[in-house]
Amino acid sequence: MTAAALPPLAEEWLDRLWWAAERLPASEQADLVSEIESHLVESIPPGASEAEVRQVLDRLGDPEEIVAEAGGAPEPIPTPRRGGLEVAAIILLLIGGFLFVFGWLVGVVLLWSSRAWTLRDKLIGTLVVPGGFAFSAYLLLFGLRWDSGCTGTDTRGCSGNQSSLSSGLFLAALLVSFLAPIFTGIHLARSADRPS
């Protein structure tokens, strides 16, 4: 419906408006763009200088802003969900403890600096088995040493009953310390994916 051709700069701007207005209902998009196209045709005289065209466009404003005014919500800004930082945090929380505990500490720092988790998630991630799998590995190592101490030549204080009772407790603790980080990891991965 343009009678006079618009300068390329204005055409470009109008294109941006058209694309921004894609998220409006089709009839509203067409109305809005055609009204503003008329505005451009009326306000840009033939042979206008680039500066004049720019001034008209500046006064009109930003296409995104105009469409937002029309009720089209601005392009959703992706909130940081599970990104590289979150994946790194979960991995370090689980196995970082093997890197002289330091890796786990880095994991904790990443966990607390991410915006993908709530305070509750962060507390769970930090407290439900600090050190992650390294904790259960440590427990296992400690247990074996303790065990071997019992089976050695010096068997004092290693009566059969006591041993089986404490080894039962030990196995349960080991199992929990192994499973808990898995559940924590799954929980963190899920809640990082959930929109807040």
Binding site: M1, E35, R59, L60, E65, I66
Partner: protein, 132 residues
């Protein structure tokens, strides 16, 4: 000395922020009255979009970006307070002319009363009224 400097800097920051927030509510006030200004411009007859936008832009401090007036015109049309007709233009493409509907006239008249009371009340508080 350093503490004094910091205090001044901090308090100025707060001041800027407070002024900034107030400017935000002034913008909301402008937005709120804008649609009634459109209706008022149509009181004496029909006008086309570009003409409306030009007239509104002439009012100081009312319009910051002209482009956002067009979505407003679209909304008023969908709400049924204005209606439009296409007419040929002496030059260039056909123009869409806006005019008040019966509902639009009622809205404008109600706002006029409301505005008068509102303005008088605020003027009295601010001491900016014209009456002596």
């Amino acid at each position: 000395m350093l503490t004094a400097c910091l205090t001044i800097l901090l308090s100025q920051g707060t001041l800027y922020r407070m002024v900034g927030e107030r400017e935000g509510s002034a913008a909301q006030l402008r937005r709120g009255v804008l649609e009634f200004c459109v209706l008022a411009l149509l009181r004496d007859g029909e006008r086309y979009g570009f003409e409306l936008v030009q007239r509104l832009s002439e009012i100081e401090g009312l319009v910051t970006t002209e482009g956002t007036l067009y979505p407003l015109l679209g909304r008023l049309r969908r709400e049924g307070v204005v209606e439009t007709t296409w007419r040929e233009s002496p030059s260039g493409p056909p123009r869409r002319y806006y005019q008040l509907t019966v509902a639009g006239k009622a809205v404008l008249s109600a706002f006029t009363d409301e505005w008068t009371r509102f303005r008088n009340g605020v003027d009295a508080l601010l001491g900016t009224g014209v009456s002596s």
